[in-house]
Amino acid sequence: MWDALQLEFMRNAVAAGLLVSLVCGILGTLVVVNRIVFISGGIAHAAYGGIGLALYLGVSPTVGATLFSIAISMVMGIASIKSKERADTFIGVMWALGMASGIIFTELTPGYNVDLMSYLFGSILTVPISDLWYMLCLDFVVLLFVFFFYKELVAMSYDEEFCFVAGIPVRVFYFVLLGLISLSVVMIIRVVGLILVIALLTIPPFIAEKYTASLGKMMGLACLLSILFTLAGLWLSYQLNLASGATIIMVAGVGFFLSLAIDALAGKRRQATDR
């Protein structure tokens, strides 16, 4: 591992893994408890439309994906409020349209040469320094947001109607949350790719929820698990010469099923002692 860290791209990859784990743990927790996993998946996939559009217009794909995914997250947010009944259908359609437009834009781009696979499955080994700065700023914004509005976020996630009655602007929080998710999705795409975003956003909080007694602790444990999965996946992919994004997700998946197995065993033991 030490010799690997002599390489600059490896150091950047580790930094990216750490920085992204922080947003994954914090925002992922809010995604899981607010049950907006599907919207988050929709944002991640539709972001590809922004990448394609940016390539076509010749601007930075990161900027394109950021603006595009923010816009689309707001549209999805409005849809989820306006038509509660069919919101999932609407989000599914936006999901597909975003990806389709991304593919068409890249095709229309003269001298197309960008590696589509790197957006689909991530390329943590080629993260540029500018993206690390982006991640650092995002971590800072997310931390501030949660630090100041922790009690409102807990309350809103637990019982939105009660918060509304108490006069908390839950809609504003909802849209700010969607906006932050869009920003982080763009960063997570860098690490594991847009197809695998959901796994990194949801598996650590899912495991953490079972062993914690508050949302704050859940966020903390989810961050640690995310760091563990990302770094272990990175190391494995280096040793075994496998795709880094997919290896990270496989490690997280193993963690997911391990936690289910531990639960099942613990449940059995409890039954045995009850008897």
Binding site: K151, D159, A166, K210, T212
Partner: protein, 266 residues
């Protein structure tokens, strides 16, 4: 400390009525749920709302809380718009709606009652914690304050939600089927707590339990798209006809002491 500000059941200068509803209609999509509902409820009342499932009881409460807006008609709560009045109102929702897996302690739920727009972005204060302790003691849940909500029984959860509503220092307390998921012993217990509270607070409770209605409540209304209001706790034949499910409840688990009205102290 500011003790339960202006909890006076006497008509206040601003409005003698806790609730004024005038010609309110409401539809979901194209289905009309409430039609031309009008009534006025004095402060200090204890109103029971009965009616069949899907009859519009919860919708009516959500309209009064400002969670929904009426298609037609006007609602005044304590003389204000429902949205502005909502900070003076406590709400106990149906508890089964909330996630069991969510990691939150009893104390944290009680503290939610201290949320306000004015103090957004700040931590809960010492006074907030004192208030939460006070209300948890009132419902007998203080000893359980560190436990997780997901690990509580239906009755215990309901007590915590009542504590949370009380922590808001409400002038009106709305409860949506507070005994739906609760053991029978706690039902009686709960209504004793509510009756005690009613000395200071106007109470509106949705219930399926007609026995409880006649024993504890001062007035009663039946909602089934239309609205029949009756000051005094007798259930009229008209209500029974409208709320066809109520008599079923009466026979199904009416215990004698709950079917017969209890004589008031005065």
């Amino acid at each position: 400390m500011a003790q339960a500000v202006s909890h006076n059941p006497e008509p206040s200068a601003s409005s003698p009525y806790a609730i004024e509803v005038e010609g309110v209609s409401f539809s979901y999509e194209r289905t009309e749920v409430l039609k031309d509902v009008s009534f006025r409820l004095k402060q200090g009342e204890f109103l029971g709302i009965i009616g069949p499932n899907g009859g519009g009881k919860t919708t009516l409460v959500k309209l009064m809380l400002g969670l929904l807006r009426p298609d037609r008609g006007k609602i005044r709560i304590l003389g204000e718009e429902p949205n502005t009045a909502s900070r003076r109102v406590g709400y106990v929702p149906q508890s089964m709606d909330l996630s069991r897996a969510f990691p939150i302690s009893v104390m944290d739920v009680a503290l939610m009652g201290r949320l306000s727009r004015a103090r957004m972005g700040k931590r809960y204060s010492r006074a907030d914690e004192d208030k939460a302790r006070q209300v948890l003691q009132k419902v007998g849940m203080w000893d359980h304050r560190h436990r997780l909500m997901g690990k509580l029984s239906g009755g215990q959860k309901q007590r915590v939600f009542i504590a949370r509503a009380l922590a808001t220092d409400p002038e009106i307390l709305f409860l949506d089927e507070p005994t739906a998921s609760v053991d029978p012993e706690f039902q009686v217990n709960l209504y004793d707590i509510l009756q005690e509270l009613n000395k200071e607070v106007t109470i509106v409770v949705i219930t399926h339990d007609i026995g409880v209605v006649s024993a504890y409540m001062k007035s009663i209304a039946c909602v089934n798209k239309h609205f029949i209001f009756h000051e005094g706790s007798q259930i009229t034949q008209e209500m029974i006809d409208m709320a066809y499910q109520c008599p079923v409840d009466l026979i199904a688990h009416g215990m004698p002491h709950r079917v017969l009205p209890i004589h008031k102290e005065e």
